[in-house]
Symmetry: C2
Subunit: 388 residues, 2 copies
DNA sequence: TTGATTATTCAAGTCAATTGAATTAAACTC
DNA sequence: GAGTTTAATTCAATTGACTTGAATAATCAA
């Protein structure tokens, strides 16, 4: 993930790109907004905003949304995102399947694929992707596809995946960015699934108004995505957020967070109680029926997550911690409400406009949609090259 | 700490400011470097770099450092930072004293003050500062002072300090930035002591080549500074890095990190052994004499810190974790070497160019010098306005 | 109806980047 | 050691994008 950035300098062209993002970002978060207001909020002149909006409109990214009368003076022409003006492709690579989704500029899912993989080796995956692309190009206008985001389970080495813990063999020492961008013929961004999922909530979900938050992702294990000022914190090597091994204290016993709060931990727990939950729907049913075995799991998980949340709040001071991932939403909601919060924390702000722990709303395909959201976030959030 | 940024847009002027920082940053980290090389490293043209360097040189921030023959072609004129071209003021407010330091552009300490405070109320502090400023202006040319950094123990509320844990009463609900910038008549930056200390290592210490790292700070308690891509991670309300309450597991007993690894924990531990260590020098002597009581503390502290390091590495994936603060350096070195590292971590990189845990080198006044380093870091690291 | 207010556009001006050709000084080649 | 190659730097012209200030348009208030 680490690379030498040789483009830290600014020039007119890069200023324009930056300002286009600023404008798109304001429109995205305000939903409908006029030029003058964007100018005030961004520090640009109305003239500049006008020019940029004209450009964005002819390119199809924006559309007029009537005038709004708001007191005296000429009513401002409102602009909003033209959802069909661009599309982002999201790819999630899992050990047994490849998920894909297309989101439009507004963040709405317009297509979803699930392609089985036997081993998820690079060859098989890339080959499957080439077939997928044919389909993708039939679904939306190819020239309207802005880019692709790829979500894979980490951890990442300097290139490719590394370490002994990940479940995708054969990807070590590969230049992932090169591999995918060549196969897809699109600019790509690669993140682990938790990070991608975190972005989904920012672009379309409950984190839309937030710029600094943490996201706990229930995948096979448990992942953490950290977003600071609208950008993912990747860490030096792209592996920030490995929270699974966090030690938690359950009634005097130390356990790893992931072994108590994850999908695989439910399966283990329920199997011990003689119940098979290999199907996700079973879980949903059990939850609706208030299964005692499931609620004893929930209790443990919530307790463990409470400790994780306390640590996250202390170390990162986020606006909120969001919970999401591939779990029945009723169950997730239940967990969310049961997480104990430390009243002595700096995050305890009685006047806060929202809860400290929030339920994510992006559903089971969060990571796939999140992969696409990585692309959308780049449209809406200005970035500048990092320090050397 | 949170505020509405109305200047996220880019223009020619802000581009220039950005590029000046890029150029200063390259020169700072390379020590001596020619224009063409800066151009290559930054993506700017040599012409632009030439213009900026000419500007910076006439302003006194740079100076020529001879030509370097490096093979064929015209030998490049080398430039380096002109240390006396600018000064940064650092202020550290503690409950019983105000520390101040001036660093030159090269990061060298040119003056230090220690002014006793009886209660460190805003009134007393600001009054003391006004007297200090008279002295400061006699020490260096007033117009060469770039700005001031302020280090205070957190946590911060939306304005001022808040919470029950901090030791500076009377600062609640104050607009710190306004208060200090008006008293000093300088642009100011305010951070907690751990964050300031973290910056000291980046500007002058062992973190000079690092852009993403964590810093564990021994103050009265224990603080954490997180630096990502050359910038401090502040969190949503400026309180990121509150690591003191982290639970650690010592032989089955759960303790708070701060109660085992901090200056006050040493005092408690040694008092229990019947030894008084209210003077820091005593500690140094005891360490040199290999006091058994002290080494039993060190062992516990290192064990606890090992757990904290593991969590930091997993959550943040830094290039390194640096240890520093107001402790005898021999003792710190000892702790550093004794911290157990998890071999299974993603941070275990046998080919890394440096250790995973590094001893800081900025000495006892790290936080004060660090406050000044906040200012210097802004000179050397380009920033752009954060997302809305 | 008139004046105040706010949004927007028009036209000119400015800033700071880029581009391409020219100059300088060293190293390599024969 | 004369000529060629290479690299850094400067000179002069150009361009892109933002700003400025004046003009115009549409609404509210009196």
């Amino acid at each position: 993930m680490k690379q030498t950035h040789t483009t830290s300098g600014a020039n007119a062209e890069r200023s324009r790109a930056h300002n286009r993002r600023v404008v798109m970002g304001k429109i995205h978060s305000a939903h409908e907004i006029g030029r003058a207001e964007i100018a005030r909020a961004s520090g640009l002149t109305t003239q500049t905003v006008s020019n940029i909006i004209a450009e964005l409109e002819t390119e199809g990214y924006l559309r007029e949304a009537g005038r709004r009368v708001q007191g005296r003076g000429l009513p401002a022409v409102q602009y909003s995102i033209n959802a069909s003006g661009g599309y982002a492709l999201g790819i999630e690579v899992r050990p047994t399947a490849l998920f894909a989704a297309i989101l439009d500029l507004g963040g709405t899912n317009v297509a979803t694929w699930r392609l089985p993989l036997s081993k998820a080796t690079p060859d098989e995956t890339l080959c499957t992707l080439e077939h997928l692309m044919l389909d993708v190009k039939r679904t939306v206008q190819p020239e309207r596809i802005i880019g692709a985001g790829i979500a894979m389970p980490g951890p990442f080495g300097r290139t490719g995946l590394s370490g002994s813990a990940h479940d995708l063999p054969g990807w070590e020492d590969k230049d992932l960015t090169k591999l995918f961008s060549e196969a897809l013929e699109l600019p790509v961004q690669i993140e682990n699934d938790a990070n991608a999922a975190a972005m989904a909530e920012r672009v379309t979900g409950v984190a839309k108004g937030l710029s600094t938050y943490a996201y706990l992702y229930f995948g096979t294990g448990l992942g953490l995505g950290l977003v600071s000022q609208g950008q993912l914190i990747a860490g030096a090597f792209g592996n920030a957020g490995e929270i699974g091994q966090l030690p938690v204290n359950l009634d005097g016993t130390i356990a790893q967070l992931e072994s108590v709060a994850s999908r695989s931990s439910i399966q283990r727990h329920m199997n011990n109680a003689g119940i098979d939950v290999s199907e996700m729907d079973t879980l949903d049913t059990l939850h609706a029926a208030q299964s005692p075995a499931l609620s004893s799991w929930t209790e443990q998980a919530a307790k463990a997550l409470g400790q994780a949340v306390a640590i996250i709040e202390n170390l990162f001071d986020p606006q909120a911690v969001i919970l999401g991932g591939a779990m029945p939403s009723g169950l997730l909601k239940d967990i969310t409400s049961k997480i104990p919060l430390n009243v002595a924390s700096v995050s305890h702000r009685p006047d806060a406009p929202h809860d400290r722990v929030i339920l994510g709303q992006c559903g089971r395909l969060t990571a796939t949609n999140g992969a696409a959201s990585l692309v959308l976030n780049r449209v809406y959030t200005p970035v500048f090259g990092p320090a050397a």
